[in-house]
Symmetry: D2
Subunit: 194 residues, 4 copies
Amino acid sequence: MIEPKNYNFSNVKFFSPMQLSEHYALYTKYIDCLNKVNVDLKQNNIYSDCNQNYSNIRSAQKSKSFCCDAIKLHELYFENLTGNNTNISGPMEKIVKDVFGTYDNFLDKFKCIAMSMRGWVLFCYDKYNKEYYIYGQDSHDDGVMLYAEPLIVLDVYEHSYMIDYGINRSLYIDAFLENLDFGVVNKRLNSLLF
Amino acid sequence: MIEPKNYNFSNVKFFSPMQLSEHYALYTKYIDCLNKVNVDLKQNNIYSDCNQNYSNIRSAQKSKSFCCDAIKLHELYFENLTGNNTNISGPMEKIVKDVFGTYDNFLDKFKCIAMSMRGWVLFCYDKYNKEYYIYGQDSHDDGVMLYAEPLIVLDVYEHSYMIDYGINRSLYIDAFLENLDFGVVNKRLNSLLF
Amino acid sequence: MIEPKNYNFSNVKFFSPMQLSEHYALYTKYIDCLNKVNVDLKQNNIYSDCNQNYSNIRSAQKSKSFCCDAIKLHELYFENLTGNNTNISGPMEKIVKDVFGTYDNFLDKFKCIAMSMRGWVLFCYDKYNKEYYIYGQDSHDDGVMLYAEPLIVLDVYEHSYMIDYGINRSLYIDAFLENLDFGVVNKRLNSLLF
Amino acid sequence: MIEPKNYNFSNVKFFSPMQLSEHYALYTKYIDCLNKVNVDLKQNNIYSDCNQNYSNIRSAQKSKSFCCDAIKLHELYFENLTGNNTNISGPMEKIVKDVFGTYDNFLDKFKCIAMSMRGWVLFCYDKYNKEYYIYGQDSHDDGVMLYAEPLIVLDVYEHSYMIDYGINRSLYIDAFLENLDFGVVNKRLNSLLF
């Protein structure tokens, strides 16, 4: 059984306790889902009907990727949303300079992609192609990049900002960026590089 | 610019040259796609309209994940479809025994999930949750598991079997398994473990 | 050019002006989208590259169904959300009795489907199969039923309730049902039957 | 219980019996699926768990739209694929002239959209917006246009052509257009107009 992790949002600015707690509650539901799916996948009889149009195994598979990706992405998101270490620094600063020239150029592209997609935006290292890039997803498991190593993870589902910002996603993205923890980002980067 | 890789299918049984060459031709189109997307993402003006309902950046992002995942998955598939080293052995044999008890049990579950999904079935190591499991995808970028390390990759898109097998996907899956290269699978496993 | 329609929410209970106005603003963005798509589809040069992995015509087609369905569904939703004529009556009452036995039985099923889906729930008449049923969609254009004649339309996107209800969708569905205008529903039904 | 309809392909040119019979067999599987879904939706206990991440009601809803749309679209496709009445004529000729100027212009646009999408392309009358247009879908139930009245229906799933044409979809579209029955198209149009 997977258990939800705990996060400390006490230094997070521009997010209401209601927005954060409702979002966290949603995350725990994905954990309930994955635990239930994993129990069902342990039953042998679920493998007795493998119909591609309608079957329990198909339903379990669809929910497995949806909930499992949702859990990973939410944990990565909550983890890098702390309000601490909010100035770019260390290896991340170097990579941004190498790939984007300036941090402002990175921010322009990151925000634009975050505005244009319906689920998530990530800055990642792609182990397969050995390059750094920003990419977006339309849902938890639609648009996921195989072999991506997430460095920055931003939720752009409507549930992540509507309580505080209504449909003004642009303000929410700015708020996220003001709280982004580069200590966490650099830690992710260091675990990759060394 | 990414270039298509070459594969040697000379020992592959139960697949016609037509099926394999049409499939390979499709793979090269995904490479054309990703190259074109990457050129467009280098243009600054694509970031001037970030509309979430309709914009060039949105279109490029949708195609980036679709084509980039398609390339990776097809390369993993072609790579493990050789007709060589077709007996389970080495670290893969040990893991299958640990996780599934018997190889027959693994095969039953792998085939069932492969029948029930519309795009891909993978046996993977999940780095995040530190476990081995089979999972399925409905398209190249729908259902991808973040942090998955693919060990066995089977294409179940209709394009992978219809020329040879019509709608008889079950026969195709058997044919794939007769050609699965455990040397490749063990190499993937070894690069993970050590 | 399509223009947004106007709706009178003055008798709608349990919805804040903020929730309703943000939702309406979102609807106007779908109209902007469709107008832009339709302009682009009138240009001959958009038909010069028909690539199935990445092309402007593909992008326009994806946005056309998304925005066009979003407009139709939102107009149907706003139209039946008035707070007037909130008691079931007329032909709708008869059909519910014939198909579901009791209105409570209908409500139980409608609410359950509304809880289980991510985009929309509709009670419709299916002209092709000549039957009445409830069905759900996961997005504006995913799960749409061809030949459906919508009778009751409920938005269950997170944007339709999070400002007022956080993640408590159940309360929102109850609030919607308290405001459902059976005069509108019966009018839709009458235009079908006669 | 829904039963599969029968179609007479004896005058259809450029399609092999194998391609047509495999395609028809696939269609019967969607009917099996919908019949099974409809049985399950009649059980009261399916409405006892309404979880939006993983539940039987969710699974049944996903399969209902997928299989129900698949059936309708396949029937419309098989019905207009006869090899009879293959010259444009009657009300369809007039509408094409009014909307597209020439039939060649219509064909260029229809073929381009058919090349760019992954599931279906339709020429339809949109009852809601009161206009005629071509549009494409990526799967049976993704991209369906609410209130569309289908006039011409072309399957572009890989299963519809790979046996005969490999990945050469362009040749397949031409073959379809050589077999398109304008008698059927005009009948659909007449049932709309009068």
